[in-house]
Every structure is written in C-alpha cells, then in structure tokens.
Symmetry: C2
Subunit: 382 residues, 2 copies
Amino acid sequence: MREVAIIGVGMTRFGELWGSSLRNMFAEAALAAIDDAGVDHIDSMYVGSMSSGLFVHQEHIAALCADYLGVAGIPSTRVESACASGGISVRQAYIEVASGMSDIVLAGGVEKMNDGADATFALASAADQEYEAFNGITFPGLYAFMAHAHMKKYGTTLEQIADVAVKSHAHGAMNARAQFPFAVTREQVMNSTLVAEPLRLLHCSPVTDGAAAVIVAPVELAKQLGKPIVKIIGSGQATDGIALHNRTDPATIPAAGKAAQAAFAMAGLGPDDIDVAEVHDCFSIAELVVMEELGLVERGKSGEMVSAGETRLGGKIPINTSGGLKAKGHPVGASGVSQLIELTEQLRGEAGERQVEGARRALSQNMGGSGASSVVHILEAE
Amino acid sequence: MREVAIIGVGMTRFGELWGSSLRNMFAEAALAAIDDAGVDHIDSMYVGSMSSGLFVHQEHIAALCADYLGVAGIPSTRVESACASGGISVRQAYIEVASGMSDIVLAGGVEKMNDGADATFALASAADQEYEAFNGITFPGLYAFMAHAHMKKYGTTLEQIADVAVKSHAHGAMNARAQFPFAVTREQVMNSTLVAEPLRLLHCSPVTDGAAAVIVAPVELAKQLGKPIVKIIGSGQATDGIALHNRTDPATIPAAGKAAQAAFAMAGLGPDDIDVAEVHDCFSIAELVVMEELGLVERGKSGEMVSAGETRLGGKIPINTSGGLKAKGHPVGASGVSQLIELTEQLRGEAGERQVEGARRALSQNMGGSGASSVVHILEAE
C-alpha cells in the first residue's frame, strides 16, 4: 500500500445556514479543499452523509454533489455510518489512494439538518429502530444512561462532566467557523435546561448545517506540490452491537477502543505519542468515555483529567481544540471530516490562536449512534 | 494491486417478503455467501442500500447488519448510490482487497421496500429533489422521456421495447429466486396498464424486498480454498448530471458508457469478448440504451437485436439470464449484487436451465437514478 497524505482542506462555517442547500454547502467546502490543495482535478470522490433522505428527501447525493461541484463523470460514492459517515469517507479515500486505484481523491461530508425535517426523528434512525427508536428513546436518553453508568461505576461528578463543555467552548470561542463561538462557565452548563437527566442543554451538541472536505493523495504527489506533508499513518474502524441495551458495560464504547487499537497498530504508535486529538463529543459524557477507550487516561479517571485542565490548550494533551461537536457544531455527516481539517491545520502550524505548539502527531475519533461504529485516524507531520 | 476473485455468493428469494425484516434478509444472504465460500470469518464488510431511512426509518445499517450477522466488531460500511448501491458495494470490497488492506470482505446489498413506506416517494429521492421530484415527476416518467427520445431518434418500436420484457420473463421463468417467475407474451406487455406513456406495467421493474451478498478475496486465497476461480478483472464507475433535463441527448446514458470503458480498459477487453451480461433494466427502455452504451450493438440498433432474439439464451449474447430487474425483481440496494451472483454462477457452470454454454467472461452493469451513476464489473472464469 502506498503512503497517503492530506494535501488540502476546506469547510463551510457550521451553523444554521438557512441560505445554503446541501448541494451548495458541499460545493463550497469541496472547492475550498481543491483550492487549498492546488490541484487542477480530482480522480474520484466520497461523500459522507447520515440521512440526506430523512433530512431533505434527497438520496443519490454522490452523483448530485459531483454534478454541482462541476466534476460529473468521475466516480463518486456516498458512505453512511450515522455520525461516523465523515470519518468513513476519509477512510475510503485513504484505501482507494493507498491501493493505487486513484491518485487524487476528495473525501467530503455534508448534512443539512435545518430544513424543516424532524431532526430528532431522523437522528433516532441511527439507533436500533425496532428496539430503541420504536419505543421512544432518543440519543440524549441513550447517552444519559452512559453518564449514569459512568458516574455510578467511577464516581464521575456532574462538575467533571460540565467541565468538558466548558473546555470545548473555551476552544470554540477562538474558532470563527464554530456555530457557538463563545465561552460558557461551569455554572451556566449546570444550570442549563435539563434534556435527559443528568444531561443538560450545554452537554449536548447542536443541530447543525455544514460541509467539510479534504483532498487525499499519495505522499509522492504531495511532495511534488510543495505542500506541507500531513500523512495518514493509521486508519482503524470497528463496529459494536447497534443497541445500547446489549452492551455488557454501558460505561464503555468498545468500538472506539477497537478502532483506536487498529489505527495505533498500523501507525506503530501508542496513546503517549499523540500531541492533539479531536474526539466525538456528541454529548459531554461521550468525550470522557472515549478518552478512556483511546488509552489517553486510565479508566474512570477521565473526569479528573478534564477538571485538572489537562485536555485544555496548553495542557498535557489538548482535546477538541476546534471546539468539538459541542461548540463547533455537529452536521453529522460532516463532523468526522472537520475533525481531520482541524488536525491538519494543527500539524501544519496554521491553527492560529488554537495552535498546539510543536504538534507533530494527531488523532481523530469519530463515531455513530451510541457507539455501534467508530473510525480513528492518526496523522503525522513530516 | 492484488488480483481479486468472488469466492462465495448468497441471496434471498426476491419478492414481497412480509415475514422478513431488513436485518433478517441481510443475514440470510450473508450467511449463505459465507457458507458458499467455505470461510470461517470475514475481515470487513460493505452494505449497499438506497434508502433504508425512507423505507424503514433505519440508518446506520452497516453496524446493524454486522450485529445481526453475528460479526459485530469488524469494520462495516454502508454505501449508497441509489439503485447502483449494490454494484458500488462490490466495487468498494474489490478496492479494499486489491489494496491489501483486508483479505476476506463481504459485499452485500439489501432493500426492504414493502413495509408501509411510500415507495414512489422514496425512489424519487434518487432524482434531483429540487428540480425533478419537487415538481412531481417520478422514475417511470423520466424513463418514458428516454423511450420517446429513442423512438424518435432511431425509430425504435413499441414492439421492440416490449420484446425486452418478453425475453427477460422467459429467462426469469427458469429462476426460482425471481419475484415473477413466469413468461409473458408481447401482447400481454403491450396491453398491460399504462404507467407513463409509452411505458406500461410490464415494462417496469417491481417493488421488491431482498438481499444479496458475495465474498471477495485475493485470487491466491481462492486457490487455497479449492473453489472455482471467478476473477474480477475490471471495475469501472462513473457519474453524470443528476437531472435528466440537463442531458444533452436523453436517448443516451453516458455514465453507463464511461463506466464500461473504464472496466474494459482495466480488463484489456472489449464488448466482443463478453459471453453473458446482466444489465440494469429498471425499465425495458433502459436495457436497450445500456446495450448501446456498453458497445454490445451499434447505436439505435438495440431494438432490432432484441427482437431478433440475439439477447436470449442461445443467442449471440444472452442478457439478463436471471430474469433481470424486470422478472427477478428490484430490491434496489441488492440488485447490483444479485447481478454478480447470476454471473458468478454462470461462470462456474452452475446456472442450471439458464446456463450459457461455455461462458468464460461476463459483464454486469448497474445504475442509479436516470443514469447519474453507473458501475460496471467484468468477471472471468479461470
């Protein structure tokens, strides 16, 4: 397999983009990525989207997006794995380039969630429809179960869970592309509207419109373009039972751990080698559990680590410097791609106020549903 | 890139399967394919499905299907390209195995269309939602436009278009897995209910439930298993504008032609080398246009070729020996995979009454929407 690099990145602002349709958002992000890469064509493309069908009654968006990007003719494939669709899009592009099948591949993600559809109903289709969604539970409820399990098993506190959101909003306040670019206090989080006990509004990622895209190519080609080289040195993907009630321990997300192990094994690295990470904080409790699955901290100690400031900018390992899904926003099919954009900019030293000094290796973790699918990538600056 | 073979195939019966859910159908087909291959595990899997969200309110089916197949843990990815989702699923598995990333990969497809959803509404999401579907046109209407264009430009007759369905039903009558395993006459086709002038009920593929799966592996591994070797020697994919009204000539489907050229180039073969083909006859007119795009016949002459019996079993190049989408049925996400099952059985010499004597090379063509995406595979028996 060939060595592969990310040579261009582009995204829309994340937010309620009432003036932009799915096709427009995708084209905006893709054109920005192509421009950033400085390439004059792409050989093929992938589009990650969770539920363009339920959100805007449009399937077949691989062809649609190629058409509106002005590249109709090339192979274009949509991938879907609920909220992990974006990360999977990049993984498929990685495999296609590594195989030698194609050279310059665009991996994008897009979701138009604010367009009149019932977002809660659409999102619930990522859970087990027959056993979970049909009986009325939605994702805040599922993650609330995880929060209770983690609190009971490890003594994790409401203050610690709130501190995840405080930290992410502090980062997001420096990100002009974020949906909610402002800081919040622990008190604000803990007094925000209750959504699913113990999770409150400021523990929950928002409903967001947005698109993101990266260009993936062989390292050899990246060198010819004279771009800063950001290599994909690890890619891991895993699944788990679709329904949370089948999980042996609801204080864990095994697919995240398995995907990380596969990515670390490919990269020949371990958790201590990572300088900065973007993880899937659809709810604040998710960030805590995922930190443990990735091996960034001992099981049960993630809350302490966050409250000690170790995951803030300047801390031991900054997490979600972009603001995370919480502050940056969570257009579900695009989120996984946007994680890799933040990390590419970090490794290029282009993250501005959010820059992690000396960052050389980065990890992204993206997942779907209550963790039934997860994908992890490890990047390295050359 | 490594040489790749199809080493196992399995599918459900196609039809109105009221007693089987999406997850059950998928598991049935996948288990049959694993059993046929004689392998004791799979490394990863793909699931093609057009619109599980609109049909049964279930996204995230890659994880769901892995779970219900009993293999939760392995990477599993859903791909969607409307009615080309199945063919794309096999293409992604092909790329993953060819790359060396994985050895034994399952490529499946599934669609549960009969479960209370409005199938016409869901299928229309494969067209341009904002310009076509929103204004009320559905797929029979779009293909009716193509039929008018072909009739006007080349003098193709209603009798010739009817003969496509007559031929496919003659084949399907010998296929126990077909939804409509019976013969029809030209008169029956031409007197069936008008759907979208000039297309009648017996020109249209039905609404179908079903699943299909193949196991893809390196040729080296296939040899160790002692299975008959059916190699994938060509894979091509292409897109076109999503809306039919933007096509320069509505009597053509350029993406089918482009995908075929790419597959022929990879295989180092041409149309004359093909012994048997499965093509995407969602409507009878589609089969005629696709025959021309594939180069199996001169432009404008496909109708004559069909009426002369050259695409029947025993003819110059038998097309849709399975019965095609018309008689076998069209569970949209599964159709592309089922094409490759028919061809694998043909190349193994296991097609029974439908066997094309001496078949060594086969071609499948699968497409989405009014032809905005298409994927072509070429198989060869060793």
